[in-house]
Amino acid sequence: MVAQLVRLKLTLLANTFRRSVWQTIGLVVGSLYGLGVLVLVVAAAVAGGTADPVVTGHVLTLAGALVVLAWWVVPVFAFGVDATLDPRRFVTFAIPRRTLLAGLALAGLVSIPAAVTTLGALGVSFAWWRQPAALVAALVGGVLATALCVVGSRAATTALAPLLDSRRYREVLAIVAVVPLLLIGPAVGWLADGVEVTVDGAGSDALGAAIAPLAGVVGWTPLGAPWALASAVHDGAWALLAARVAICLGTLALAGVVWDRALARELVTPRGGGSSATAAKGLGWFGRLPATPLGAVAARTATYWVRDPRYAASIAMVPLLPLVLLAVGTTNGAGGVVLLLMAPLAAWLLGFGISNDVGYDNTAFALHVATGVRGRVDRWGRVLPVLVAGLPLCVAFAVVGCAVAGRWDALPAMLGLTAGTLGASLGISSAVSARLVYPVPKPGESPFKSPQGATMATMLAQMATMGIILAVSVPTLALALPAILLPQAALGWAALGVGLVTGVLVLLLGVRWGARTYDRRLPELLQQVMAFG
């Protein structure tokens, strides 16, 4: 039975290769990329281990702890990422729980992330190649770490499954998850600064001194313990080694028990309990906007931007932008000037948000096809709410940005750049979304789940969209950038004019072209989203 589950997972993995050419290309590219990163990491670890095993051991402990943490936490946020072996699918097969547990655990190793983790964990062990004893300890640690990753992640998702069953909780969680994601950038910047400072200071000794206490603490946690086994051997601290092995095994056992309990509960609890139906009084936007097809599409779009977590997640990013930029600005010393980026970035985010609107509709788009909504109505209905809400917001961002940066002279150029970006991104998105539809998380799924096989086609479509937006923004950029950077006030006014003109022009032409394409290939658009399943 265990072997069968592993074989099932292997078959599922193999089938993803067979589903489409894009999927295969995406997987191959992804695997090559993963392999490349892996080789680099292992090479760095071996080089570091040769030069200074102590510091390398600390770094490996910290990095490894992050990997384990990611394994435990990410699936909780990106729920449903790997539902191929959802335990509930086995409810009707009378498989003994112990067998199912063992099978699911082993099958959990059969995935690309697990393969990368395993290879990485074993590979970095060779940082200790000069000391056979430490090498053995590191290899054992690698195996333990991989087991902790897989079992811990399964335990976390299975134990939290009842919570994740509630739609509202999932949606809140999904939006909350935006925050740490946004902070990754500044955090990396801060870390890089730290490393830079220490490297500038006194080389690796200083670095080692900086992270040694941290690694010491992390080495005592279940996250870092398996990675710190080799360090203990290297130091000859046998008691420490024993303690860390005990921590690993204890955590593994605990996770196993939690998983086992949760699984037992899961197998006897039917799906879809606790339906806390949410409600909204009245007609909302439908009662306020004009009672025309255009007004209806706009009302629907406005409702979805707020109510659908996939849109709401991108809305949530907009107010966070100033915070993130401020964090970046203060850490790298640029200060408030970075806030000048805020307005064009917000404009771009908002405009790009509708670049795959039909994909977001999924097969609900059939209503537009069946009722024969005209392209002009559909396109404008999707653009107008974003334009009406987004324009004042972006202007406010531009003004605040200039105020904080103390660069009132840059305001005309900023306004031109912002208006140009908003118009261009909305116009190009309207045109492209009538032509290129790519799979996105389905309604109700996590905004962070990228659908299987989407990667390559999605990346190409998004890159094409961004490329075109950038291309039509070149005239504005060519005027606005020197105006802001030199600074050159006269150029700024020119940038304002050119930005406004290109923004309006691209918006009108983009929507028009999108509407024509839409009218011509309405049924084909529907078939494209139907094909996503």
């Binding site: 007609l283 909302g284 629907r300």
Partner: protein, 274 residues
């Protein structure tokens, strides 16, 4: 994308001209998905004022045919006329006469039931008062008044079907095309919906339903077409198609015999062999 003006392929028989008096007239419809020919030359006339049942085994091409008949899927070849209007030449005009409940598609389920009906009504170009009035009536008829402010995503399967049906009816179309309308709907609601549909037909409307349930079609419909393997095997009044047999037996005869060999095997009446 596809070139629809091309000549039809070498069809086995000359295609009669479309019946402009029919509510729905399909001629020489073909559709191929990759290697699989889903619909291979469907000709069908749905008389105005009929309650038309479309039956066939899974994968027979029912949904594909209905999708092409309602403008959701462009046929490779063939024409569709809705009360004499060429659907694929004048889609806006033809679609205005059609009410469609597609099978297996989502709804805009972040809207409440009342919002979804309002949306469908406004998209059809109705004015605000008419939409409000009909929304109330439809919610009442579908027994969804208590769930008007609940998001459709939280509806049960049967409720979802009912709200989809209601949004297909809101513009009072002349032809209703319903793909599996009774699936997952409870018996009481199904009986209510049948009453609504019968009343609608009595007033001159035309209903096309697809179904697996022969018994239901036999009791409910005035006309029936049996479709399998992308072909129409039999079509006409229910009495004419089933003859002395029950519709179910007749269906099994038609479809079962079809499976044995290619070509015109369905003309031979081989009953027991499977």
């Amino acid at each position: 994308m596809s070139d629809q003006t091309g000549p039809p392929p070498a069809a086995p028989a000359p295609v009669p001209p479309p019946d402009v008096s029919a509510a729905l007239s399909l001629r020489g419809l073909w559709k191929r998905f990759g290697q699989k020919i889903a619909v291979a030359g469907v000709d069908l006339d749905v008389p105005t004022g009929s309650f038309f049942g479309l039956v066939g085994p899974n994968g027979a091409g029912k949904t594909t045919s209905l999708s092409m008949a309602t403008g959701l899927l462009r046929p490779d070849f063939g024409t569709v006329h809705v009360h004499g209007t060429d659907l694929w030449a004048l889609p806006e005009r033809a679609k205005a006469e059609l009410g469609v409940l597609p099978d297996g598609v989502r709804l805009f389920d972040r809207l409440t039931g009342a919002q979804l009906l309002t949306y469908a009504g406004l998209l059809r170009g109705l004015d605000r008062d008419t939409v409000a009035e009909r929304t109330e009536d439809l919610l009442q008829a579908m027994d969804l008044v208590g769930d008007r402010d609940t998001f459709v995503v939280d509806y049960s399967a049967g409720m979802t079907k009912k709200i989809g049906l209601a949004s297909a009816m809101i513009h009072a179309p002349r032809v209703l095309v319903l793909d599996e309308p009774f699936e997952a709907v409870d018996p009481v609601s199904a009986a209510n919906i049948r009453d609504i549909l019968h009343g609608y037909v009595a007033d001159g409307g035309t209903v096309v339903v697809s179904s697996h349930v022969m018994d239901l079609v036999q009791r409910m419909c005035s006309h029936v077409a049996v479709i399998a393997g992308g072909h129409v095997l039999a079509a006409g009044t229910v009495a004419g198609v089933r003859g002395e047999q029950s519709l179910e037996d007749r269906f099994v005869d038609l479809v079962g015999g079809r499976r044995e060999s290619e070509g015109l095997a369905w003309l031979r009446s081989s009953s027991a062999s499977s």
